[in-house]
């Protein structure tokens, strides 16, 4: 690959553009799938019956 002109930087620039487009595409997908709604509900989805909301869980899980 010669560096006779700045055209040779195009692969890098194109990679940046592809990254940018892929990020936008993922954002669009997440919007269509309802991932950007009801944020308060979504924040609680990591809690379970074994490790419920409202309980400090840095402890030995006794349910094992």
């Amino acid at each position: 690959m010669d560096v006779d002109s700045y055209i040779d930087l195009m692969p890098i620039i194109l990679l940046g553009v592809v990254f940018f487009i892929s990020a936008i595409a993922m954002l669009y997908w997440s919007s269509k799938r309802g991932q950007l709604r009801n944020f308060d509900d979504q924040a609680s989805t990591i809690f379970t019956e074994e490790e419920p909301e409202g309980e400090i869980s840095d402890s030995f899980p006794s349910k094992y």
Binding site: Q35, A43, T45, I46, F47, E50, E51, F60
Partner: protein, 493 residues
């Protein structure tokens, strides 16, 4: 066809369903990934110890160049690169594969499939890395920073990445429930980004090298994105999982967490070119990198605010928890290192910090104070759940924490101060290079002292880990969490 999206609130959440047939127990998920996660964690700790030895040798040689100067294998360049690769690819990647994939499995709410694929990937990764670092020490090192591993070892690493990436996609595809938690976004994105970065960099620099400045642009596009699009998202994913999980309180603002993720995804990729400020590349390209670097203030403030507000009022619990003591230290460091990084991209600041130890300090701020501290927190949370037993010694955890926290603080102070002084002095034509080096000596010795503290911390961590892993009956029978508050009677050593 009606494709109207279904609201998440309308979708049953199998993660907390009363129906056992719908809900996969966390313990079942933990059991399914136990072997792979343990393999990666054990490997990570071995590399952490090896990387620490390389680091001590390197730090000492910086002010005592005659130390271990008899053989080519122990020269500064090889030891320094062996340290970087052992820490970034040995400790960093193995612990990401352990904790990141464990969190991914838990959030996908299903026992993992094809666990053997992960183990094979782990074997490939560690064999490839051993050959690669052996090659560096033997003199086959490349001249490209962050890509020093010789070309004959990289195919093994690439195969390993491919297997882990495929596993991540499979895990995500067979997840239960529709919702994608923010940690999953970070992990999935990182699993997608890193192989891309690595393969492109290998092709354009090692296999079919571009000539001239294109190589440098590719080099820093890769190297900076390793930090920003691999280590950072994995650490943030871990923090976003651990902080609310341990405190039993949802993240302060899920909206902000999503905003932070997308801002990182959109801006970070452009930022690496700021490493070439002043170099012979198009000015507009550097300017684009500077703009992106400054725009990174948005996700950083968002994430920092979110983490801070999530622990407000629960600071005692944070201090008491081994997991959160490390994780919150790392989260605070993320805010600091990122804001310093954005300011370093500004031309007037970069004129001083470029080519100095300020950059070295900044790298350690990111990789250790931020990334590694959060990952230590992740290990303290994950291991009791994988092994169904508690940490044997709270004292060793405290030694680990204080050794790491004080050690890295001393290192950061020394390297930032000496870096700034070096920059000012090198910009002054009346000061000779010899004087610049002599003036750096006290600070470089302070860096070695900080390395000794970090070494003690890592040994304490390793001893506690293997004590837990090969626990005797007394440790197995221990009840209650290992907490760090002296008032606690629950299992505290």
């Amino acid at each position: 066809m009606d494709t109207a999206p279904q609201s998440n609130s309308q979708i049953a959440n199998p993660y907390s369903s009363k129906d056992a047939a719908v809900r996969a127990e966390l313990s079942e998920i933990d059991a399914s990934i136990r072997s792979s996660a343990l393999f990666f964690t054990v490997s990570a700790i071995f590399w952490l110890l090896a990387g620490t030895v390389f680091a001590l040798i390197t730090a000492y040689k910086a002010h005592e160049p005659a130390f271990m100067a008899d053989g080519a294998w122990s020269t500064f360049g090889r030891m320094r690169s062996a340290h970087l690769n052992a820490m970034a690819l040995g400790w960093g990647n193995n612990i990401i594969f352990a904790i990141g994939l464990w969190i991914m499995a838990r959030l996908c709410r299903a026992p993992i499939r094809h666990g053997g694929m992960l183990t094979i990937a782990g074997i490939f990764w560690n064999v490839g890395l051993t050959i690669g670092i052996g090659g560096i020490i033997a003199g086959d090192i490349t001249s490209v920073e962050w890509l020093e591993i010789p070309h004959y070892a990289t195919p093994l690493l690439a195969i390993s990445y491919a297997l882990i990436g495929v596993w991540g996609i499979v895990a995500f595809k067979f997840r239960k429930g529709e919702h994608v938690y923010v940690s999953q976004w970070y992990i999935l994105a990182a699993l997608f980004w890193f192989p891309w970065l690595y393969v492109i960099a290998q092709v354009m620099i090692i296999w079919f090298p571009a000539r001239g400045v294109v190589q440098s642009v590719t080099n820093w596009w890769f190297a900076h994105n390793v930090l920003g699009l691999w280590l950072t998202p994995m650490a943030l994913a871990t923090a976003y999982y651990l902080i609310p999980k341990v405190l039993g309180r949802p993240i302060y603002s899920y909206y902000l967490s999503v905003l932070g993720f997308w801002a990182l995804a959109i801006f970070y990729n452009w930022a690496g070119v700021h490493h070439l400020i002043g170099g012979p590349i198009p000015v507009w390209l550097i300017s684009a990198g500077i703009v992106a670097s400054v725009m990174m203030v948005i996700p950083v403030i968002v994430v920092g605010l979110n983490h801070h507000m999530s622990v407000v009022g629960l600071h005692k619990e944070v201090w008491r928890s081994p997991t959160l003591r490390f994780t919150v230290f790392g989260a605070i460091s993320y805010t600091l290192v990122s804001l310093i990084g954005s300011s370093m991209a500004v031309r007037s600041v970069n004129e001083i910090t470029h080519f100095t130890d300020f950059t070295v300090g900044h790298a350690h701020h990111g990789v250790y104070a931020f990334f590694s501290m959060i990952m230590f927190g992740g290990v303290y949370y994950m291991m009791p759940r994988l092994l169904k037993r508690e940490w044997p010694s709270a004292t060793l955890i405290k030694l680990h924490f204080w050794g790491s926290a004080v050690g890295i603080s001393v290192m950061l102070f020394a390297l930032h101060v000496t870096g700034w002084i070096q920059g000012l002095e090198m910009n002054n034509p009346d000061i000779s290079m010899l004087e610049v080096v002599q003036n750096s000596m006290p600070w470089l010795k302070a860096r070695t002292v900080s390395g000794v503290l970090l070494s003690f911390a890592h040994v304490a961590f390793a001893v506690n880990f293997f004590w837990m892993l090969f626990a005797a009956g007394a440790v197995r029978a221990k009840q209650g969490p290992t907490l760090l508050d002296s008032s606690s009677k629950e299992g505290a050593a």
